[in-house]
């Protein structure tokens, strides 16, 4: 393989090479430094005059004396059956002291788009045991449902609780976890690893670790390696794969860094204008394929800078994913776990996975009614702060109390409390029963008569 020593410029993570033979766009590049270290990069722009290479590792040590080797192929991920139980670096190299992965296949990491015609609609209810998810923001197999959190909030606990408890009731199919860390601290990573080990999840997990002190630019490929692995496990080996990506905010920062180094016209808050498309090329790699056994379900975690949901990172994510679970500081301050605010949370695929034949026929309407009542009560809190409780009508007072009750009983639950969907829905009815029946305008009469505790007691008594 030809080696060039024609570096014209190095700027941030970018290396500009001149006088090359034709080099392919997106090609994998090896850069050999004076001390023999090999660093990897990728072609971002190629012409007969200059080739721009983005380096995935620190550019420290790269200089005019470094050799550049163009490999003639795009980045590939070696994948194989023996990957389960392994811990790899953010660049895909084993870091658990174990042997190299024996590749059964070498797959393109960019991941071609699933043909929408080949997709099957996700409809299998995943029970996480968390009421605010199962009851009101249901996760289904093949969905991409991020956790929007902020610094200092227990999003890792929520993610781990999901990973621990997630099951498809009545199904015994094999499932696997792919965990990709991007720029999180060693301590956070250990927290995840310890839990995986304790629960035995590690044996059926593949872990990619790019930690806070690892090269930032490597974060660009970490999620892609993880998803390539997930797709292999799912669509080649038939596993149902749960992918946890954390923290996508660090990923986006790395993207911004590269954009700045390329002197691109920045979009909102300095993030590149193509960030939507770039994030979509990650998040869209979830789903189910008709006639193929496995599935890829994604739970990306991101921390909203300044708790701001309109910040470009959560905003663009929300425009791509199929809903979001929003972790809330106020609930956390009140000492409520899992501090999920259901109001801005959403699961768009919920309707496909609930109801008769999936969960229970009253699921949708109970969820709608809980939302409406909680939203109304929550609004009234603002009013009470100004006019006092006494100025409220009786109706208003009921909703105000409902909001407190909802947080205290429905939202609040234990870190290891695994509620079945029936428990969650019955709990919902118990809360709704504190409101007069005619206020339950979202639920049809028939369902009220079947599930409302009042009628159920009558039926039993």
């Amino acid at each position: 393989m030809k080696e060039y020593r024609t570096i014209a410029q190095i700027a941030g993570p970018l290396v500009f090479v001149e006088k090359t033979e034709p080099v392919g766009y997106s090609e994998l590049v090896n850069i050999v430094t004076a001390d023999g270290t090999i660093k990897r990069g990728q072609v971002l722009d190629t012409s007969d005059e200059i080739v721009v290479v983005q380096v995935f590792e620190t550019t420290a040590g790269i200089g005019r004396d470094s050799g550049i080797r163009f490999t003639g192929e795009t980045i590939k991920m070696p994948v194989g059956k023996d990957m389960l139980g392994r811990i790899l670096s953010g660049g895909g190299k084993p870091i658990d002291g174990g042997p190299e992965i024996v590749p059964e296949k070498r797959l393109e990491t960019t991941g071609a788009a699933i043909n929408p015609y080949a997709r099957a609609p996700p409809a299998d209810f995943i029970q996480t045991g968390i009421s605010t998810i199962d009851g009101t923001n249901t996760l289904v197999r093949g969905q991409k449902l991020p956790i929007f959190s902020a610094s200092g909030l227990p999003h890792n606990d929520v993610a781990l609780q999901i990973a621990r408890q997630a099951k498809v009731p009545g199904s015994t199919e094999e499932f696997a976890v792919v965990f990709a860390a991007m720029g999180i601290t060693r301590e956070e990573a250990n927290y995840f690893m310890a839990d995986f080990e304790k629960t035995g999840a590690l044996e059926r997990a593949v872990v990619f670790l790019n930690l806070a002190d690892d090269p930032a630019v490597e974060r660009i490929i970490t999620p892609r390696l993880a998803l390539t692995t997930a797709e292999y496990l799912a669509f080649d080996l038939g596993y149902h794969v749960l992918v946890i990506l954390t923290d996508m905010t660090n990923y986006c920062e790395a993207l911004r860094q590269i954009g700045a180094a390329r002197e691109e016209v920045p979009g909102r808050r300095g993030y590149p204008g193509y960030m939507y498309t770039d994030l979509a090329s990650i998040y869209e790699r979830a789903g189910i394929i008709k006639g193929v056994k496995g599935s890829v379900t994604q739970i990306p975690i991101l921390t909203m800078p300044g708790d701001d949901i309109t910040h470009p990172i959560p905003d663009l994510t929300g425009y791509i994913t199929e809903g979001q679970i929003v972790v809330n500081r106020e609930l956390h301050r009140k000492g409520i776990y899992a501090p999920i605010n259901v109001l801005p949370s959403l699961s768009r695929l919920m309707n496909l996975g609930i109801g008769k034949g999936h969960t229970r026929e009253d699921h949708k309407k109970v969820s709608d009614q809980l939302y409406a009542a909680y939203a109304e009560g929550n609004d009234l809190r603002g009013l009470v702060a100004i006019v006092g409780k006494d100025a409220l009508s009786d109706r208003d007072r009921m909703f105000l109390e409902f909001a407190d009750l909802f947080e205290d009983r429905f939202v609040r639950q234990g870190l290891y409390e695994d509620r079945s969907i029936e428990e969650t829905l019955d709990l919902g009815w118990d809360l709704l029963a504190t409101l007069p029946e005619e206020q339950l305008v979202r639920i049809d009469r028939e369902l009220i008569q079947k599930y409302h505790p009042k009628y159920r007691k009558q039926a039993q008594g």
């Binding site: 722009d45 190629t46 071609a112 788009a113 043909n115 193929v292 309109t310 409406a372």
Partner: protein
């Protein structure tokens, strides 16, 4: 037309930068379609600069190298039009996704071409013209039963026309000649049309017929006319896609073109699985039979996303030319604008507002201008209604795409995150939204619904506006401090919101509400309001009036299919309750 490989039709690549590549030594015109690299990826010329030809490529360019060949086809980006469009799902450049699965499996790889229409399938052509007839461009020569929809086979719009020498019925592929003119011109069912050029019409008409959607807040408060334009902006998760899908399902258009432009793969799959199962309320046939889908999802090549909108509207215009009412949904025009921005920034053009190219406003208005109710070249009348979703960053409507769209479209359905968060759906804000077609449509509502409808609508809007004013007072002093009369206004407004405006897209009955039912529901609410007013004049307290039990049943009407008896009973019960109250 094809230039072949003589000098100038072939050049060489010089630079590859993502979806934008530069070629040298190529003779090309703007928007010519070219084949890029050894794999012959499809691209389109978007800039000519000195000896450089700059090309946007519709497929992934990974691995392509400088020096690889580029070949000009000499054709512009065009779609194939003819029988076989309906029930299809295409990518942004009209490759049928079903065919692509057969050719390359479950993932979209590159370098595979597939024609938009089947060139093998035979269609039964029935002429409606005969030899000796004079025909001109656009004239209908005959028909093909495509699905339950009759496909009209037309003389191509750019044809000179003439006297028919021979026309024959029978079984034909889209390429076979079905008609020969005296001057020797052969006409087949297939037409190719460049997507960036609007298909010609005779005359534009004023839209004065509503597109009835079965969605109460739309038909009732902010209607769009057939041939009209509407924008539906809103933050993520506020209901753009659900609303557009509801329109695609239930609106009384004869043909629906649905463009998933840079959005989710699963959403297209949902349409694909649902539409064949759902019935068109008018014809009783599967909705899919009247539908064409364009799916260029967010992770498919960005240049093809740019093209998808044009592909869609050209197909819509083609069906309009046959005399059909077509409605086109574009979800989301913001992703289209972003594709323009991305290409423009690769071209290193001077950016306008927020990095969008300076021609953003022009492109948007050219696109919406292709909507309209028209008299076609063949004297039939048809329409294309365009409904565009807009996805403003951070839900902030002051951004360029929303603002430039609002300057063009006539209907504004403003989605509101506050409403969607409390699951008030459709989350369309009734105070900010508007329809500029109202005046033009009044007469239709008078005639087709009831002369009482327009006053009823104004009454409802009045109550909602009054409520908003009252809410400001309530925020300061609490609801008990309101005068008695206003306390009832608040209750009536709540009924309008919860009974009439809220509509559950996922309820089997509520998902579609015919205009007559909309009218009956609103009339029943007004009936309560009138009874309440009379009772208050007679001395009843707000608590008594609000406490009327039977009115609470009204909400159940939404979920009831044959609702008339139930509604009748509620009306009588309400009257009886008020009578009893007066007596007490």
């Amino acid at each position: 037309m094809k230039k072949g490989k003589e000098n100038g039709a072939q050049g060489a690549l010089k630079r590859i930068s993502g979806p934008v590549v530069t070629a040298v030594g190529l003779d090309a015109h703007m928007y010519d379609v070219v084949k890029v690299g050894n794999e012959e990826l499809m691209g389109e010329v978007i800039k000519i600069q000195g000896e450089n030809t700059i090309i946007q490529v519709y497929e992934d360019t990974a691995g392509i190298r400088p020096g690889e060949p580029v070949e000009n086809t000499g054709l512009s980006l065009a779609v194939e039009l003819g029988p076989g469009l309906l029930t299809s799902i295409y990518d942004g450049i009209q490759r049928p996704l079903e065919v692509l699965v057969d050719k390359m499996g479950n993932f979209i790889e590159r370098g595979v071409s597939a024609p938009g229409l089947s060139h093998e399938k035979k269609w039964e052509f029935v002429p409606t013209m005969k030899a000796g007839d004079d025909v001109k461009a656009g004239d209908i020569l005959g028909t093909v039963q495509e699905t339950n929809i009759v496909h009209k086979v037309m003389v191509p719009p750019r044809s000179k026309g003439g006297k028919i020498k021979k026309i024959s019925g029978g079984s034909f592929t889209v390429d076979e000649t079905i008609c020969v003119l005296e001057d020797g011109t052969e006409i087949a069912m297939l037409q190719r049309w460049p997507v960036r050029v609007p298909r010609p019409v005779r005359e534009k008409l004023n839209p004065d017929i509503p597109l009835i959607t079965g969605q109460r807040i739309l038909d009732g408060l902010f209607p769009i006319a057939k041939g009209g334009t509407a924008a539906i902006p809103g933050p993520f998760g506020s209901g753009k896609t659900v609303t557009q899908q509801q329109l695609a399902k239930w609106s009384d258009a004869e043909i629906v073109v649905y463009i998933g432009c840079g959005e989710r793969g699963n959403e297209m799959t949902e349409v694909l699985t649902e539409f064949p199962e759902l019935e068109d309320p008018k014809t009783g046939r599967p909705l899919m039979e009247r539908t064409v889908l364009i799916a260029n999802t967010s992770n498919m090549p960005v240049a093809a996303r740019e093209a998808s909108v044009y592909t869609g509207i050209t197909i819509a215009e083609y069906f309009r030319d046959m005399g059909y009412d077509v409605s086109l949904m574009a979800d989301s025009t913001s992703r289209w604008a972003e594709a323009m921005r991305e290409i423009s920034s690769r071209l290193e053009e001077m950016p306008g507002e927020e990095g969008y190219p300076a021609y953003l406003a022009a492109r948007l208005s050219e696109f919406y201008e292709r909507a309209g109710r028209v008299v076609n070249l063949n004297e039939t009348s048809g329409s294309v209604s365009v409904i565009g979703a807009v996805s403003p960053p951070g839900g902030d409507f002051s951004e360029p795409v929303t603002q430039n769209t609002l300057r063009i479209v006539k209907v504004f359905w403003a989605l509101d995150a506050k409403l969607s968060q409390r699951r008030h759906f459709p989350a369309i804000n009734w105070l900010n939204s508007y329809s500029l077609y109202l005046d033009a449509l009044n007469e239709w509502y008078d005639r087709e619904v009831s002369p009482e409808w327009n006053p009823l609508r104004s009454w409802a809007m009045g109550v909602l506006q009054k409520e908003a004013e009252l809410q400001e007072i309530v925020q300061l002093v609490g609801s008990d401090a309101l005068p008695d009369e206003e306390q009832v206004t608040i209750e009536v407004a709540r009924m309008i919101r919860e009974i009439f405006l809220q509509q559950n897209a996922y309820d089997a009955v509520d998902t579609f509400c015919p205009m007559s039912k909309q009218y009956d529901m609103m009339k029943a609410i007004k009936h309560y309001a009138d009874l309440a007013r009379t009772a208050q004049v007679g001395g009843a307290t707000p608590q008594q009036v609000v406490g009327i039990k039977s009115k609470n049943e009204l909400v159940q009407i939404k979920f009831t299919k044959d609702y008339e008896p139930a509604l009748d009973k509620i009306r009588k019960d309400m009257e009886a309750e008020f009578d009893a109250m007066r007596a007490a």
